[in-house]
């Protein structure tokens, strides 16, 4: 039975590969008559950033990005909703290893710097808020694993505020545009660059927080809520 | 309504007995409701006496539109019904105990209403309605006494009555279609004209034959009549069986040409019943059963007369009064005989012999003694039958008639014998005597002054 299942599954996957490959080749052979690249080039200067990917991400298709951040916030939220601890640091992991500690003291500022650079560079070359946020989160992970105290981030309200700040700023900008008579998510052409930078900064912070929170959140509480209606 | 009695009288003659159950059903009013029994048919009697000319009454709002009428034939039946129920009612006042009195009163009233109504009804639906009312209510009278006998008799009665009703209903349905009219008067013509005439005639002969005790349809009669309380037996045997006869007269194609063989068949059936009943009757041990068989026997003779009317369209006008006369005679006499069964012989010797003479009187009348109603009826019958053209077994007719008389004699003798043996000695309420006496009076005296009789005698 198992063998049959294995065989069938493998066969199906092979079939999928063949079909997909054929489709890919078929598509590759067809002529594309899209005006998208021209439009993109034409609109790039109005976008407020120079790098096309960032422009697409944060201006042309900023709605996608907004929702994407929403997804991240959800994940972070769902993560901490399951967590029993509110703190980002784990006392059990606090290390007394002085070498590691010293190393970290060197690494952390460098990584922070790197994050800032990535963020700034995003405007004209590969980089941007997500990359910066990821580095930020990595810094946090490192600090946690290394046992650095992170008391500066208060659990609870501050944590949640951190989670949501990027998203909130993004949204605020979006709606301000709408209130000023533009479409939802439209930036005034003159301020586009500045606004995008603001959003990116806030996003970086939030993304870092979320990824860190997700890393931390998973310990377990022993407290059980009785299932719905199961009686006391 | 041409010269008819006041409407209120017509209404009262039906409604009084019909609504009487409401009075009878009241608990605690025993003496009043019992006392009212003989009064119930009084309006009807008055109506019959006052209606010197035929009248017709249209009641289009009732049922499917109904018509009531009273002609000579009906008047005669109405008289019989009213008289007999009245006397039996009077008798019942003294006869009934307290037990189930209310129930008896209810069914008595309903049966009476049905019996009176069917006489007055001139359209199919009303007739059928009253007939059914009488049939079903009489069941209550039959089983009144209770016990196994009564229950068995009741079951036989109701089954046969239902079969009769169904046959009747089927006949009426067919007749209504083919005749295109709901009036009884137009029934005969409708039947005669229809291709289904044979079917309808058969259905009617059977349907009413059950009530009239035609041979093979008679089984219920010797069972039911004896078990009923005596006054009820009297009306069952005296009045209600006559409803069957009236049904025949009203529904069969009498007066139409071409029903000779049917008439002949009916005559044969009638004689068969008349003679056969005597054979069974004389071996009975209960005077009431003997009387029941005697009723079958007498009804057989009446069936002979109906058959004769069916056979000879030309003679109808002569035959109808004869039939009415015979019915009247038999009803009154039979009523007397039944009521006598419930009597008690008083102590005084002289009184006893006088009483026996009186007791014998209706019996002798039945036999056809001179100066009795029976003699007149028999003579009329013989006269009417003898002049008929091509009667079957024409030669045998006198013989058959004599045989019938003989049968009657045998039954009456047997009845007298049983009565002699079984009649108790003691005292009974006066109203019983009064009822019986009144019945006897009607049969022996009033009879002669009744309009129908006068009509026949004047012929």
């Amino acid at each position: 039975m198992r063998r049959v299942r294995l065989f069938v599954t493998l066969l199906a996957c092979a079939g999928l590969i063949v079909a997909l490959a054929a489709a890919v080749l078929d598509v590759a052979g067809a002529a594309v008559s899209s005006e998208l690249p021209e439009q993109l080039r034409a609109s790039l200067e109005r976008s407020g950033v120079e790098h096309p990917v960032t422009a697409v991400l944060l201006n042309f298709r900023s709605y996608d990005t907004l929702l994407e951040i929403g997804v991240l916030v959800i994940a972070g939220m769902a993560g901490i909703s399951l967590a029993s601890t509110n703190s980002l640091e784990d006392p059990a992991l606090r290390s007394a290893d002085s070498l590691l500690y010293a190393l970290q003291r060197w690494f952390v500022p460098v990584m922070l710097l790197l994050a800032a650079y990535l963020l700034w560079a995003g405007a004209y070359r590969p980089g941007g808020a997500f990359q910066a946020g990821a580095v930020l989160a990595a810094t946090g992970v490192l600090m946690r694993l290394g046992g650095l105290p992170m008391a500066f981030i208060r659990p609870g309200i501050l944590l949640r505020l951190g989670l949501v700040i990027g998203f909130a700023v993004f949204l605020l900008v979006a709606v301000v545009g709408a209130l000023m008579g533009e479409a939802f998510l439209a930036y005034p052409a003159t301020m586009a660059g500045l606004l995008i930078l603001t959003i990116e900064v806030a996003l970086t912070l939030s993304i870092g927080m979320i990824l860190l929170a997700l890393f931390v959140a998973a310990p377990v509480t022993d407290e059980h809520e009785p299932e719905e209606g199961a009686g006391s | 309504m041409n010269g008819s009695p006041p409407l209120v009288l017509i209404a009262a003659s039906i409604l009084l007995p019909l609504l009487y159950p409401l009075l009878a059903a009241r608990p605690g009013w025993h003496s009043i409701s019992r006392g009212a029994l003989p009064l119930l048919p009084l309006p009807a009697l008055l109506l019959a006496l006052l209606s010197t000319t035929p009248w017709t009454l249209e009641l289009p709002w009732l049922l499917l539109g109904s018509t009531w009428m009273l002609d000579e034939l009906r008047r005669s039946f109405l008289l019989l019904t009213a008289l007999l129920w009245g006397t039996a009612g009077l008798y019942a006042v003294g006869y009934l105990g307290g037990k189930h009195l209310r129930r008896f009163g209810v069914f008595w009233g309903l049966s009476l209403a049905g019996n009176l109504g069917l006489v007055l009804a001139a359209d199919i639906v009303s007739f059928y309605m009253f007939f059914a009312l009488m049939t079903f209510a009489a069941y209550g009278l039959v089983v009144h006494v209770g016990g196994n006998h009564a229950r068995f008799a009741g079951r036989v009665y109701i089954v046969m009555a239902l079969l009769g009703e169904m046959a009747m209903l089927a006949g009426f349905l067919l007749a209504a279609r083919d005749g295109g009219s709901l009036l009884l008067a137009e029934l005969a013509a409708g039947i005669a004209a229809s291709t289904n005439g044979w079917l309808m005639t058969t259905l009617f002969i059977i349907g009413f034959g059950v009530k009239a005790g035609l041979p093979l349809l008679h089984f219920w009669l010797p069972l039911a009549h004896p078990v009923a309380p005596t006054p009820a037996s009297a009306v069952l045997s005296g009045a209600m069986v006559k409803a069957g006869l009236l049904g025949w007269l009203l529904t069969l194609p009498i007066g139409e040409v071409g029903w000779q063989s049917w008439g002949q068949g009916l005559i044969l059936m009638g004689f068969a019943g008349s003679l056969g009943a005597a054979v069974f009757g004389v071996i009975q041990r209960d005077p009431k059963t003997v009387l029941a068989w005697s009723s079958i026997s007498q009804m057989g003779l009446m069936a002979v007369l109906v058959g004769a009317a069916l056979m000879a369209p030309g003679q109808v006008s002569a035959l109808l009064p004869v039939i009415a006369l015979f019915a009247l005679h038999h009803g009154l006499a039979k009523g007397c005989l039944f009521l006598a069964v419930g009597l008690v012989i008083p102590a005084g010797r002289l009184l006893q012999s006088f009483l026996w003479v009186l007791l014998a009187l209706p019996g002798l009348s039945l036999v056809g003694m001179p100066f009795t109603s029976g003699q007149l009826a028999k003579a009329a019958m013989k006269g009417a039958l003898m002049v008929l053209p091509n009667v079957p077994l024409a030669g045998l007719l006198p013989l058959l008639l004599q045989a019938a008389t003989l049968a009657t004699v045998a039954l009456v003798v047997r009845y007298g014998w049983l009565l002699w043996q079984q009649l108790e000695r003691g005292t009974i309420p006066a109203s019983r005597w009064l009822g019986w006496g009144l019945a006897l009076f009607c049969s022996a005296v009033v009879f002669w002054s009744l309009p129908t009789v006068a009509l026949v005698m004047s012929d």
Binding site: R5, L6, T9, L10, A12, C13, A14, L16, I17, L20, A21, V24, L25, V27, A28, V32, L36, P37, L40, P52, V53, A55, V56, L57, R61, D64, T65, E68, I69, V71, L72, I74, A75, G76, A78, G79, L82, G128, F130, I210, L211, L214, F215, A217, A218, P219, V220, H224, P226, E227, A230 | -
Partner: protein
Amino acid sequence: MSSALLYALAGVALCGIGLAGFLLLNHLLRRLLAFNLIGSGVFLVLVGLAQHRGGPDPVPQALVLTGIVVAIAATALAVVLIRRYFHLTGRTSFKAESEGDGGGAGS
């Protein structure tokens, strides 16, 4: 055949392999990895197919970036759930319980 198309075909292969893994593996983490494999395959197809002729197209790159973030979010959430599930039940797969009646049997 351009190199971009090669990427796309590699992505196709990844999809197939990932799907097989997803369907055949029981361990939850492995399934999650298989899912990530499929995800990578899809992104490769998306980017590779779109820019197999001529210059880079920034739109699919941006899409893929978004897709990656979404995938990361989902993966992270899944990891949290798996860890907690493991902690509560000591199980690393669905198999242990009877199939089809997962919701009913609560504490």
